[in-house]
């Protein structure tokens, strides 16, 4: 459990990057994980295909209504529309103020310049043109092979190898860069919409009923405090019960009336103590930090 937690924390530290603003404050950006990137891309691909299908249907119904016939406009939609959409959808949306496609927005991501400067149009164009060889070339290549009825196995393997090389490229560098990111000098960061809800330290001290000793308050550090904060904000009764039982066992406290009230009281007392230590220059990272 503890190892897991430490591992998890190490991972989130590994994905953090410094970005010092001209005002001298490090914004501490978090890079997007490979999974988030893949999700965003799949969403974008779905949107593009939905657009193409919608356009096809509109044109098809238009023909039915006017009584004309012909496959020509449909072929143009799928050739030219697909080409323009797959290149300019990404470029135009990423040049906007949000610097993210709809898929990236849904996953809470945005594109930024690696050096922290302005994201220029050139960089956006470069990173998206590279997509043509990263994704569409191997895809269309495999499609062509399949359509021609299993041409050489060696060629198919070569195509697959090529596709995998680019597809898994982000997993093999610590900044999760696509080849396009590498060339354009960009990376993709995590900017989820964060809400500011309520302060768990309410003015009317809930801890009135409880008095914790110093030993009981020394059982945990900042990491545990913030995990407890997430549990309290989550408000899931099962996890509240599990956490409360663990803490009571560790502190040697018997049955309590309400687990939530107990945890809130302990949270307040613990946070007060740790924040006071913080002011005196002692940041106790976790329970192993003595």
């Amino acid at each position: 459990m503890a190892e897991q937690a430490i591992l998890h924390r190490a991972q989130s530290v590994r994905m953090r990057r410094r970005l010092v603003t001209p005002e001298g404050v490090d914004l501490g950006l978090t890079l997007a994980s490979a999974g988030q990137r893949a999700t965003a891309f799949l969403l974008d691909a779905l949107i593009m295909f939905a657009t193409l299908i919608a356009m096809t249907l509109i044109v098809a119904f238009g023909f039915m209504a006017t009584g004309l016939a012909g496959a020509e406009p449909l072929a143009i939609i799928w050739l030219l529309g697909y080409f323009l959409l797959r290149n300019f959808y990404f470029i135009i949306l990423e040049m906007g103020p949000r610097a993210a496609t709809f898929g990236k927005r849904a996953s809470g991501l945005r594109v930024v310049a690696r050096d922290g400067g302005r994201l220029t149009a050139d960089a956006v164009i470069a990173r998206n043109l590279m997509r043509e060889i990263e994704v569409y070339l191997p895809l269309s290549f495999l499609g062509m092979e399949a359509a021609e009825g299993g041409a050489g196995a060696a060629m198919t393997l070569l195509g697959l190898g090529w596709a995998c090389l680019f597809l898994f490229f982000p997993l093999f560098n610590k900044d999760r860069l696509r080849v396009g990111d590498l060339l354009a000098g960009t990376w993709v960061i995590n900017t989820p919409r964060q809400r500011l809800t309520y302060d768990l330290m309410r003015a009317d001290a809930h801890s009135a009923g409880y008095a914790f000793t110093d030993e009981q308050l020394d059982a945990y550090g900042i990491f545990e405090l913030q995990t407890l904060e997430q549990v309290l904000r989550g408000g899931n009764q099962d996890s509240l019960d599990a956490v409360a039982t663990t803490i009571r066992g560790k502190l040697g406290i018997g049955e309590v009336e309400s687990h939530e009230a107990f945890l809130t009281a302990y949270y307040e007392a613990l946070r007060r103590r740790l924040e006071r230590k913080l002011l005196f220059g002692r940041r106790r990272l976790d329970k192993f930090d003595r």
Binding site: V25, F83, P97, V112, E132, T191, D199, Q226
Partner: protein, 330 residues
């Protein structure tokens, strides 16, 4: 206990400002900065600095994870908005056509000459190989592209191929197919440049070889002049575009091999950004070429008119790219 209270005081005192900044940013992202009043616009940088200083204080005094992450994301959003791109799309578009596009092409002048030389070498090589040994023709020209235009075809069949369209109906589709195919080839020329430029050189040589093979085939029947008209009407634009894409790929490959004072990666990404604008120009050129090839060539049957259109296009492109012009910034 006064310490924590003083911090909660900070939250109570500043929270309204953070929320105002949050709202202003949401408005800007959803609509545009123009929808803000003057007062809000002036408040934005002040609120941003206030939020930054709150973030610094919160990091040092508070253990409230939600508060610190909220301030971090708020500050990051404000930072990217305030230090982000300032131009409107319309102004950006105008700047692209009046300045960026020709400037990008001019910046590639040296590489353009090299790419042109490679293409010419490929053409000459293809021509002589196929002239000396007609069997090489099939190696240069794939069967589906040749579609009967090979050494078994009669002079009449070849000549007819130069003047018969693909049939009136399919013209638009034909133009589209040509455009998407050529654009992909051009994008590969650019994107594969990072592999030391070798794939770019090969693609250029191969394209030249194909051209040379065609010249040899038609030359052997004494149809060179007619083929020239058939090729030049769109080829002056299309081949120029492919040469420029090759030049972009070569620039990237060159900076990977000889990065100069920069780290290899930084050099590659700098040249990638520099040439990306040129690539959008190349795709636009290919759109024109596709229209000329799919529509113009099929509808215009006169050799001299074909030559005239082709040469006019070449002169127009060269004038647009290389004519010296006044620098608006002096």
């Amino acid at each position: 206990m006064s310490d924590t209270q003083s911090f909660r005081g900070l939250r109570a005192e500043r929270e309204a400002e953070w929320r105002r900044l949050d709202d202003l940013l949401s408005t800007c992202e959803k609509r545009s900065p123009r929808s803000l009043s003057d007062e809000d616009l002036l408040a934005l940088p002040v609120l941003y600095r206030g939020a930054l200083s709150s973030l610094s204080v919160a990091r040092e005094t508070s253990l409230d994870l939600e508060l610190v992450t909220y301030l971090e994301t708020l500050c990051a959003r404000a930072y990217f908005f305030l230090y982000g791109v300032r131009t409107t799309p319309a102004a950006r578009l105008r700047q692209f056509f009046t300045r960026d596009w020709p400037a990008a092409m001019r910046g590639l002048a040296r590489e353009t000459l090299i790419a042109l030389a490679i293409l010419v070498i490929g053409t000459i090589g293809g021509y002589f190989l196929v002239t000396s040994q007609p069997e090489f023709y099939n190696a240069f020209v794939p069967e589906e592209l040749a579609s009967g235009r090979d050494f078994n075809a009669s002079r009449e069949a070849l000549a007819e191929g130069l003047y018969s369209g693909a049939g009136g109906d399919g013209l638009a589709v034909f133009a589209t197919v040509l455009f998407t195919h050529n654009s992909r080839v051009a994008i590969f020329c650019f994107a594969l440049g990072f592999a030391f430029g070798a794939p770019t050189v090969l693609l250029l040589l191969y394209h030249g070889g194909m051209l040379g093979a065609f010249l040899a085939l038609y030359g052997s029947h004494g149809l060179t002049f007619e083929l020239g008209g058939w090729l030049i009407i769109h080829g002056s634009t299309e081949l120029f575009a492919i040469v420029l894409a090759g030049a972009a790929g070569l620039r990237i490959g060159w900076s990977v091999v000889f990065p100069g004072a920069l780290p290899r990666l930084a050099a590659a990404s700098r040249s990638g950004r520099e040439t990306a604008t040129a690539m959008v120009g190349v795709v636009l050129m290919l759109l024109v070429a596709g229209l000329l090839e799919g529509l113009g060539r099929q509808l215009i049957r006169d050799d001299l008119v074909r030559y005239a259109i082709g040469m006019t296009m070449l002169i127009l492109w060269c004038a647009y790219y290389y004519l010296p012009r006044r620098n608006p910034h002096g």
